[in-house]
Symmetry: C2
Subunit: 544 residues, 2 copies
């Protein structure tokens, strides 16, 4: 049996389709680029049948990230997969989306558990077998690389699973993915399931990759995934930070770092450059607005933290006794103080390059200007500050409305009041003042007074990026359009309203809040008016 | 073998000693009360030898939570445990702290792994065996219930472990706890370790409880804990929200809900009333300032979340297909809209009682006044809002300085400025104005101008408690005293500066920020001046 475990990242599909994790196409592309750079073997880029938007985002990733850059024809590229229910329309959509990649994959699925077949599919087991055979054959007619998943495998009858999986192999599937869809299993149960499948599935042979896909509802996704790998699975479906519906999917970083840290026990390899884990984790957290708790394994802020006040001496002694991984192995930078007021353009460029950002001259100019402004207010600029600046500067959605000015007064003695000045898509300047229950509410009401896109604020978070009173504040918000676009959940087959996340950074958290809200609002407007360019506004009214 | 698994909660010891999770004695007491109400079997209340403060907090918990309330002499109370290194002074301190409880326990430990014995203890294996025997005997002379842990058991030689544990039994230990101190093991390895210990430890008998204690560095603490239980362990050492050093300890909620959800597979019981899990999780998160990520199993905000827009119909159909636990089983309240502007005192009292808060008349008056003020500004008051109000009103530390007024102006157009008015411990009013890099910085600088207690801001977080623009904002901060008290880590034997968390809620997040900072500052001042009452101040100077 080979000792290489393929890492199949589904952050952009199972992660992104979970409520609140919506990313813009530009953000998805950037995440896909980072995953490819880090060495992910398969990127599941989305569920193309969900909406034309979703299809387009997958196509963009397939075309750009799924092909070598000009002049690097020999470079390895990841497989780009698209998800499809077991019907021709979905499979056609998936193929349309991924066909531009050098290594395209269609991933189709059908539920096999009694409860799903009866209540969701309303199909007999025989019909399920027939449909799998037919649809895998159909997909294989379009694409040489087909993956099949029996949904809710964890609650399926093993004998029936062997039968269905055997049919899938016969029809041409080359990867069989075994999902514990509801996060119900224990490691020993999952080990036995995978072991049984490898042993008992008809036509099983060395060319077939068995894949594991777990959910964390009982907190055991990582252990289950590794149990499946021990039983012979050689592909692990995972997400960055373990994001995903409910309690989320298996964490990429936990699986990869266990295989690395416990290499003598497992004897298995992955292609992941682990030094990039911390950065990709931060990127996904920023884009989705889903925070990582401090005590999260591998990528939590405390995962490598030591008590304040322990001397270097003590650290060295204790690193032997209490550390099983080194922070630098996952890209946690311990030398945090890097640049200050007198640092030049050259130092900034060098530091950004070390952090993995190779900017064009004009981009560097922009960041340098922001850097200088920040250095006037803040003594020491850390990597975290720089990361926030770069994200804030370049990974913002297209600006329909931009913030030109904000003035706020609040406190216990007065009514919170905000005055906002925005530049609209027509280039005109709009101003509006509003009262609110607090400074953020007042600011958002003032913005609403100009923009007038009905939405509901679902979540609002601020945190200080770095230690100290003068830290940059980072705000993430999530809003839901009240009359906007819908997308569809592949498994539950239900439509739901899109949620848009926004992100802003400033030393003034009210300014950062305004930026974050505007960035979410801009995403929402762009999504609603896509294909109807240019966006036209009259004061407070979108002209379709 | 019996089918009852004792839940040993170490939130107040292994959880609290982790950096940044420091709680005041009042907060610790409230957490201990909640744990007892929820049915925890053993509460490890602290490490009494760390400092006189720590000893005092454990003693208070032992006396109050470790004994039945007046008039309820037959009520079950939890065991109260105190941790001690394997030396007489620590054991004396632990006994002094827990002896007031109806069921006291001394928990002592000594490392048994080659790396710990050599680098940390600098002791031969023979010396370790001798010390364990001697110190367990000594502890047993004081207390009938003694637990022994071979630290870093996961990396110890199993044969040596059997020997040490046999000596511990001979010396009178009745609980043997097997820690995977560095979070290194996999479930199958941990299963074999526990199985081997039960089978091979000399003198092992039915009166001995084997206990499991895991860390989550590779994301497998819950699976390891359950593997140990399957192998025959009948006590699980866990923390609320899985807090603890580095990636934290095993989550109480994950272990308990797996045993409940998968009852047919495990056939085991716990004494936990699971409907209280969500509330206790929130309490610990508030007090420690350690956030729970949305995709955290069981207690994360998304653990039971469904996509917006799914109709009730769909929900019912899907609850069969995609839910393995019901939100009400863990106390997640789905009917969020409860009270409004016209709700009376009676409705408030009833709702609070349902939420588990039985307040005195005078306390209810206070909450009702806050409630009315909030209802003027916010249309709908949810359970989450109420919880925040109650916490804000009653679980604040003793107020040395209190906020009398705050006025802030900020934005892109002006220099952020805050004017603060505080009432000092002398009853006098102090005011101070300050510029800052943002409104929070300006506010904190203005407070510092009055209070003048040197400290470093380590963390600053804001989130909206409920959906909607007019939500209550909840701020948590963590500060470290620059010339303050130290405490000691039991295992690493290093002293570190105490970190103090503060918490504040208001619809104005700048006001909430001021409250949170003041609450942390007040904790710090109380800790530094304990035993030197009353605290005396002259403008900006603490008089010892």
């Amino acid at each position: 049996m080979n000792n290489y475990v393929k890492i199949f990242d589904t952050t952009l599909r199972d992660g992104e389709q979970s409520p609140g994790a919506t990313m813009t196409s530009a953000e998805k592309l950037e995440v896909a680029r980072s995953l490819a750079r880090m060495g992910v073997d398969v990127i599941e880029a989305g569920f193309p049948a969900a909406s034309p938007d979703d299809l387009e985002a997958v196509r963009m990733i397939a075309n750009e990230v799924g092909n070598p850059k000009p002049g690097q024809a020999d470079a390895e590229v990841p497989i780009i997969a698209g998800l499809a229910r077991a019907n021709k329309l979905d499979i056609d959509n998936a193929w349309e989306a991924v066909r531009g990649a050098q290594k395209p994959r269609i991933h189709t699925f059908l539920a096999t558990s009694p409860i799903h077949m009866k209540h969701k599919l309303k199909m007999d087991p025989e019909e399920v077998v027939g449909r799998v055979s037919e649809m895998v054959t159909y997909a294989r007619g379009l694409c040489a690389d087909v993956e099949f998943s029996p949904e809710d495998a964890g609650r399926s009858d093993p004998e029936f699973l062997y039968l269905v999986l055997g049919e899938a192999i016969k029809a041409g599937a080359t990867t069989l993915n075994i999902p514990d869809t509801v996060g119900y299993m224990t490691p020993d149960e999952y080990f036995k399931l995978i072991e049984g499948i490898i042993k008992n599935t008809p036509l099983m042979h060395e060319g077939i990759t068995v894949s594991v896909h777990c959910h964390d509802d009982l907190g055991m996704a990582t252990a289950n995934t590794l149990a499946g790998i021990r039983a012979g699975a050689r592909q692990a479906e995972v997400t960055i930070n373990g994001i995903g519906e409910r309690a989320g999917n298996t964490s990429l970083e936990e699986v990869v770092m266990t295989l690395k840290t416990r290499h003598p026990a497992f004897g298995l390899e992955t292609g992941i450059e682990t030094q990039q884990l911390a950065r990709v984790s931060k990127l996904v957290s920023n884009y989705t607005g889903i925070v990582v708790q401090p005590n999260k394994a591998i990528v939590g802020a405390n995962a490598f933290a030591h008590e304040a006040g322990i001397h270097q001496d003590g650290m060295l002694k204790h690193s032997l006794t209490y550390e099983i991984m080194r922070p630098e192995d996952v890209g946690v930078n311990q030398t945090k103080l890097v640049l200050g007021k007198h640092s030049g353009r050259h130092a900034l460029r060098a530091r950004l390059a070390e952090m993995g950002h190779s900017l064009e001259e004009s981009e560097l100019d922009q960041v340098f200007a922001r850097f200088k402004k920040l250095a006037d207010r803040k003594k020491v600029i850390t990597d975290a500050d720089l990361e926030a600046l770069v994200v804030d500067e370049f990974y913002r959605p297209r600006e329909v409305f931009s913030l030109e000015g904000l003035q706020v007064s609040c406190g216990t003695l007065a009514m919170p009041t905000a005055t906002v000045r925005l530049r609209g898509p027509d280039g005109k300047i709009y101003t509006h003042a509003s009262l609110g229950t607090g400074p953020v509410d007042a600011t958002y009401k003032a913005i609403d007074g100009i923009v007038n896109v009905p939405n509901a604020l679902l979540e609002f978070n601020v945190h200080a990026i770095t230690e100290g009173f003068d830290a940059l504040g980072e705000v993430t918000v999530r809003i839901r359009s009240k009359n906007g676009l819908h997308t569809m959940d592949a498994q539950k087959e239900v439509e739901f309203a899109r949620i848009y996340g926004g992100h802003g950074a400033d030393t003034d958290i009210i300014v950062a809040s305004a930026k974050a809200y505007l960035s979410a609002i801009n995403k929402l407007i762009v999504a609603q008016t896509e294909g109807r360019q240019p966006v036209q506004y009259e004061y407070g009214v979108m002209l379709g």
